[in-house]
Subunit: 321 residues, 2 copies
């Protein structure tokens, strides 16, 4: 049995405490709006990847790098706040989104404040200055890529001919690069060699893409009671996911599911996609990505943390919510 759940829980507690100290306990309405989603929970997976990457490169180094781990969670949250405005979403993590609880301008500013705080926190890490500059550069590049990924994702809404290549490029930017940056930043701040940093960056990129593909599978396969989300919403909205793209390649017509779906409808869709082999193919793409990311980790000496990183990849593609 892996130690991963316990490890993730311990990182989450540490990050939660930092969030309380640096965000929740601050006065002022804009600070409250900035802290709102950050304090609403979350698995703190990106901070865990920062810390595991650091310890895998240099055992015991992660304690010094907590502000960088926090910076990754803060960056992730800023993108969620802005995405929620763009997508018009009302609920996230069981709480009203920032622009709904406050208003659109406050939502934009709350995200912008977190954006700044991410860079402020990463500047405070105890590490060599050249490593800090490289880490900051990685984070900035990831932020620009995430914007492009979100822009691609929105442009897909008006299309029904997105191919696998475009989908993978969108997911690479929207989700992959921030996991890549998390692992790369942990490695670079811990004093990793160029080879180690690159390997961990690639590990993060692949597992991040696999994470998103699994998210698409969960949307279809996991009942709402378990996921807390609306089951099969992607299907109903005709979203260009890998499932949709693979189905189209096989000549399946999923447009009939672009309407309110009963549990029986959803089961019919799942059966159709399973029987045609779409589900298995999509699962295989995700697990191949994780297998490939594990190969990248072979440049690292065996360690508890290297194993935990592999467990993270495995967890990303086996979780059902």
């Amino acid at each position: 049995m892996s130690d991963l759940p316990q490890y993730l829980e311990s990182v989450a507690k540490t990050i939660d405490r930092m969030i309380d100290r640096h965000f929740v306990d601050k006065a002022g309405e804009l600070n409250k709006a900035s802290a709102h989603l950050l304090a609403a929970g979350g698995k703190r997976l990106r901070p865990a990847v920062v810390m595991l990457a650091a310890d895998a490169v240099k055992p015991g180094s992660s304690d010094e790098l907590l502000p960088a781990a926090l910076a990754l969670e803060v960056t992730h949250t800023f993108t969620l706040i802005h995405d929620d405005i763009m997508d018009g979403d009302n609920l996230r993590r069981g709480v009203p989104t920032v622009h709904v609880k406050w208003d659109m301008p406050t939502g934009i500013l709350a995200g912008d404040v977190l954006y700044a705080r991410a860079f402020e926190h990463i500047c405070t890490v105890s590490a060599k200055d050249d490593a800090k500059v490289r880490a900051i550069s990685l984070l900035a590049k990831a932020c620009a890529d995430i914007c492009e990924g979100q822009h691609m994702d929105m442009s897909f809404e008006h299309r029904n001919d997105v191919d696998q290549y475009e989908y993978m490029e969108m997911v690479r930017k929207k989700t992959g690069v921030l996991y890549a940056a998390a692992a790369g930043i942990g490695a670079v701040l811990a004093g990793g060699t160029a080879v180690q940093v690159k390997a961990l960056y690639q590990f993060g990129l692949n597992t991040g893409i696999a994470f998103q593909i699994q998210d698409d599978l969960i949307d279809l396969l996991t009942p709402s009671e378990k996921s807390g989300k609306d089951q099969a919403s992607d299907l109903r909205e005709g979203k260009q996911t890998l499932i949709m793209i693979k189905a189209r390649e096989k000549g399946l017509d999923l447009s009939k599911y672009r309407r309110e779906l009963s549990p029986a409808d959803i089961n019919a869709a799942i059966k159709e996609l399973t029987d045609s082999g779409v589900i298995d193919e999509v699962k295989k793409i995700a697990s191949d990505l994780v297998a490939d990311s594990n190969r990248h980790l072979s440049v690292l000496a065996p360690s508890k943390e290297r194993q935990l990183l592999m467990d993270v990849g495995e967890y990303f593609v086996t979780r059902s919510y």
Copy 2:
């Protein structure tokens, strides 16, 4: 006659070329949206302050720091793009604003991309790594402050009892800190001492605040033909400017001007505010700030660049558009 106009023109040309290379010539719709306002002109005052501060600390150092000068202009432009969404403004620098030419989500993302690029560019400067980390930290802190300043400014819209202290705090954050960061970043990257960096930061802060106060005066006093803006729009909208606050202190009722204003109405308002001494008092606050910022510069050896910095302050409070 000061060399300042010629100097500013030369910096603007250099920055314009960098903008063409790094932003305008990039493919993709989101890059086009990000480049739109950046390429629409502008005086490039913040880059000039970065470079003058650097050269005032270490002659000839500014050539190496062009990416940092660019980063300040990019940061300023990101804030304008997001402000235009929040304020619902349709025109800026004679072109449609980003969210109008594209849409609101693209406006948010275009600003977010520039935000990232600012940090990316400052990371590429040729300077000592510890100086780069301090410069990045200054920029990040400025970004967070600007958000708070904009939030305060928006909150003033629902009030008619803003006092001078609150106004100055808002302007300090919304406009002052980015000039402060510009001067501080130039100084720190050029290898300035702690005393020099602090002095230049304070110089930038005071002149930045004075710049905004002068903007309020221009809104009232400069005819539209000259300013390219709608004359007396602050008065019409009941905006809490220093002019409004000083008038209230003197018992003047400006609420009668919260309506469509004819040229005769505007002249009447100007006469009332001039006769009561409001205009002179506001002008004095701005020029006192500039005088104070010049005192900060006395820690620097006399140089052409130190004089040009003083000329910048003088220009900020004497310009009529």
